[in-house]
Amino acid sequence: MSTVTQAGQAVPASALAQRRSLGDRGFQVLALAAGLLVLVILVLIAVSTTQQASSWFTTEGLSGIFSTTWNPAAGQFGALAFIYGTAISAGIAIVMAVPVSVAIALLLTEVVPRQWARPIVYVIDLLAVVPSVVWGLWGILVFAPWIAGFYSSIGSAVKGVPVLGALFGPPTSGASFFTAGIILAFMITPIVTSLSREVIATVPAIDKEGAYALGATRLEMIRGAVWPHSKGGIVGAVLLGLGRAMGETIAAALVIGSSATITSHLFAPGDSMPAVIANEFGEASGVFRAALMGLGVLLFIITIIINMIARGIVQRSARRQRGA
């Protein structure tokens, strides 16, 4: 086109365009390099841990890897007890944290007046700031001994009852699946709450006001206007919390009881993948160390799968929402 004036001087368009495109291209290259670097690091981590774990895969074979016996003294390294422990403790955490978190999020966006919402959000975010090891220490020194009393009274009360006895009956111990689940629930509540709150806040006011205009009560408005918009995002937040709960290391290592057993008793001690890696890595060597690395690889794979499911759900509900 014509020239562009800059400070009264005429600059030819082609030179300006060249300057602009150089800056743009440089930025493009930088951004691409940063993205590729992240990918490369991820791949390198995956490859190197799998390499270090290879002697475990070859020694145990597929059946050995998923066997229930973890006995380093006898050279048996079966991971099933830890997969079970991770799943159970994370599951308990989700069951306890999600209703509370979503309720808090709805409360903060719909019910509480704006000026009170901010300090409450601040307090909840403080919960996220507490370091994991402090949770674990508090858990094992204060919480576990205190709650052991409840466990034993519940345990003796439901002893013999068909389903409840198997879940909540003896043996009971302060450091158990359930205690780990409670501590993990405390830890993931801030994340799930803040993500859910942000998702719910994006619901267009027009939908909410429309629901009110049609005579809906607050609960009906939440169910009809807020939920369809935000359910994908909330599920994504929950799965993010699940990923965090599954990977939580120090807090779980201190309060889960370190006993590699598969049992239905939730008040019994157990073990989880990140906990056993943290606890047993120091003195491990040879196939033992390869087995611990292998547990890390398994955890990695499981977390990736959960994240992919989360993204899939979020994308699908977003697509559906856009169509609606």
Binding site: T69, A74, P145, A268, A278, F281, G282, A284, S285
Partner: protein, 368 residues
Amino acid sequence: MQRRRIHWVTPAGVAVVTMALSLAACSSGSSGNGSSSGSSAALTGTLNGSGSTFQLSFQQAAISSFKTVQPSMTVNYGGGGSGKGRTDLASGVVNYAGSDSPIPASEQANFKGKTVLYFPVVIGPITVSYNLSGVSKLQLSAPVIADIFQAKITTWNNSAIAAENPGVTLPNTPITIARRSDSSGTTQNFSEFLEKASGGAWTLGSSSTINWPATSRGGNGNGGVAQIVKSTAGAIGYVDYADAKASGLTFALVKNEAGSYVAPTVSSATTAADNATIAPNLTFSAIWAPGAGSYPITYQSWDLVYQAQSGTQTAKGLQAYIGYLLGPGQKLLPGLGYAPLPASLDQKATAQLSKIGSASAAPSASSS
């Protein structure tokens, strides 16, 4: 607004850069920056070690008092476990490694045929601590301990325990087993003792991690186990002498190979090491050692060093530091809750010091 922001950024940046430079100057002042002197006095340089956490408090105490002998030398010990120490030594990350056991066969290949010298530095008894009100003296033998820790004996007034303690009224309290939740050399040596001494009663093998019965309670570190024993009536656990003493626990007397019941003390541990069979490379096991005064659950830790060193400065530094651990450093041990090496073993180890740095830099290809 923009100008005001820039105003405080520049002084802040200058302050940060100045701090960083001064910190760098401070730290570089202590590391080696001179030629090595020919005499045995005034060495410079940095030594790095890692490994056994059993040795950790000894290493920390020795490092700070070594600073008074050789102020220009810096020694760092990182802990992290015997396995990590051996791995670090194999990969050349550290100059010496603390290890509670000799290099196992599965790790030999990592050292690529280079000769590793073993310097025993500490001995320590493992106590069998218990919490039973009204019972101040308890005698236990290995088969009974094995059955207790496998949850085959579940109450204190069991006939097997009563048979070893005539005249003592044992209450009907259930036994709570306290054990380690993390892997450790203490577990390795305790289980080794049970394997050697219980005559087949112990079936869980010997390793840094054991598949304990599900009713047992795991504590993190010796301190964690001590805390479980201290706070639970009827608990019994295996705790390092240093931590058991620090927590004020009551120890049981354990029957040794000669048949006498011995309490864990500094002298009974040193006696056990004295009576153990020492291999030419100074590896040995004081577990289940013969001798009437030996405490049967005594274990030991070595500092591993390559015979071939790349520089004379490092070799001299290692000789000085490990010589200190074997010499004046031994006096620190009883106060820290360890036992010193017996005199004969100390002499053999000190004699081995001259071997550090003696071989040529090329690795010895004696493994064929």
